[in-house]
Amino acid sequence: MMRPASLSSPSNLAAALILVLLALLPLFAELLASPFLVTLFTRMLIYAIAATSLNLILGYGGMVSFGHAMYIGIGGYVVGIMASHGVHAGWLQWPLAIAISALFALVIGALCLRTRGVYFIMITLAFAQMVYFMGVGLEEYGGDDGLTIYNRSSFGSLLNLSDKRVFYYVCLVLLVGALYLVHRLVQSRFGMVLRGSRSNDRRMQAIGFPTYRYRLTGFVIAGMICGLSGALMANHNEFVSPAMMHWVQSGDLIVMVVLGGMGTATGPLFGALAFLLVEYLLSRITEYWQIIFGPLLILVVLFARGGIGSLFDMLEGRRRG
């Protein structure tokens, strides 16, 4: 079922086109005199990074983690807490955000991966809820109300993240990096084992792969990438709060991955863009946008499982007859 990824497949071409357009976006925003666009799309890029990380374990590894937003919170809180103590150096903040996320992913993953299927879904959800309540319990750092960040991460004179456009490009570069990293991982021997364990774990074990370790490694890598997106999110909002890791956020991330096309290299990009665009457009039509979005989601699940990426490929296939 896994066809070798052809670089010129329609979905990859579409992704390349979208990335080029994204690179030009600040110019459009300038021409249209709507700097808000840059803010909106920065958010999309950050979510796309988070969705890319989830795609590694959900799409390729078949692990339905319903707690992935917890790393957004963890990465964000590392940045927020360090900033509140006067440590603004991005060289310290970001690696630490990634490291702490890795630590949480290691402990939680080691427990959760002992189970499968529906247990795994419920347990990742429950542990994410635990981390959420830990965030609420951080009274010194604002508790439920969250923590304002007065200075964005500083990278000396190299990058000024307070400049919205610079920050946008940093996010874009990191997104491309994350997409490439996950793509390379999936094509590697490690990725083969991960994918193999998704289709038939018992067989992979029988031919001698300790799949638990491979799956746990994948789980930790996904947590690390998502932790980085949390550090970005904290910088973007200049604010962290437990709401960043509310369980609905985890659900949203799953929706993005599935919407874009699970287990496809560029799916998370399509998914995150489409999800946030639909959210943005619907919320402009009505305050009660979720009453449309909920049933829409159900319809997508019931009738369009392949996601957006496969839609492009299907159109291509139909054209070729």
Binding site: Y119, I121, G137, I254
Partner: protein
Amino acid sequence: MTILILEQSLNGLQLGLLLFLLAAGLTLVFGIMDLVNLAHGSMYMIGAFLAATFAGWTDSFILGALLALPATLLVGIVTEIICLRTLYPRDHLDQVLATFGLILFFNEAVRLIWGPAGMSLPLPQFLSTSVEILPDVRYPTYRLSIIGVGLAVAVFLYVLVQRTRLGMLIRAGASNREMIGALGIDIKLLYTLVFGLGAALAALAGLMAAPILTAQIGMGENILILSFVVIVIGGIGSIRGAFVAALIVGMIDTVGRAFLPDLLRLFLDRAAAATAAPAISSMLIYMLMAAILVLRPQGLFPAPGK
């Protein structure tokens, strides 16, 4: 001190029984239809809002509650027929996504109908008193009656599942779905009934919690995740496991929150204890879940045939 312990244990029992009402429905639906239903918490919420509305119309808490139960049962059955029925053969990811969509829909629908503020459900006179459970120890009548209703439902479920024909079909469905279909049982009808029963149980929990917590949008979600913890601890598909685990979780959560600060003060200084206690006590049940996962991954009472 002993009085406080008694009170907190009763509170823990009460939370545990509310959790049981939710977990029983969830675990039945999972055990029989193999469906992960995130929207179960929505039934809890809808039950609370409907009870508050009906109680407002009829001016009676009891009538409101009695009307809300069949009404939520109806909502559950309609949801099952329109949406969930097609999900049974799908994989768990599809079920999670679709029921996630249902939650968004129900939350927004409730906001549209009842407004964002939530609703309070005032108690009738005879329930807003307190009774003397021990000499000089008073406990709210309403909380006692929650415990009474919860225990009664547990007995009712036991009799229903173990002693009636419907219960026999439910147990048979849980161990082999194809077989009872092949034996000529209308399995679709059975599914719808079980789902409706689960919805009504969730509604009962919701409407009983409403006078204490007020009916709010999203009220079902935290308790839903708690009931997931209950199910994982108890073992999926087992009502007995759900009952035991619900009581354990309710008790540990309540008693932990009440006494952990004092307990920690024995080891830590006052300030450290005061900051650490809320965080640790909210983590207690998850630590329990982690411990169960390490020691007995299949839960305390795994359902037979799974």
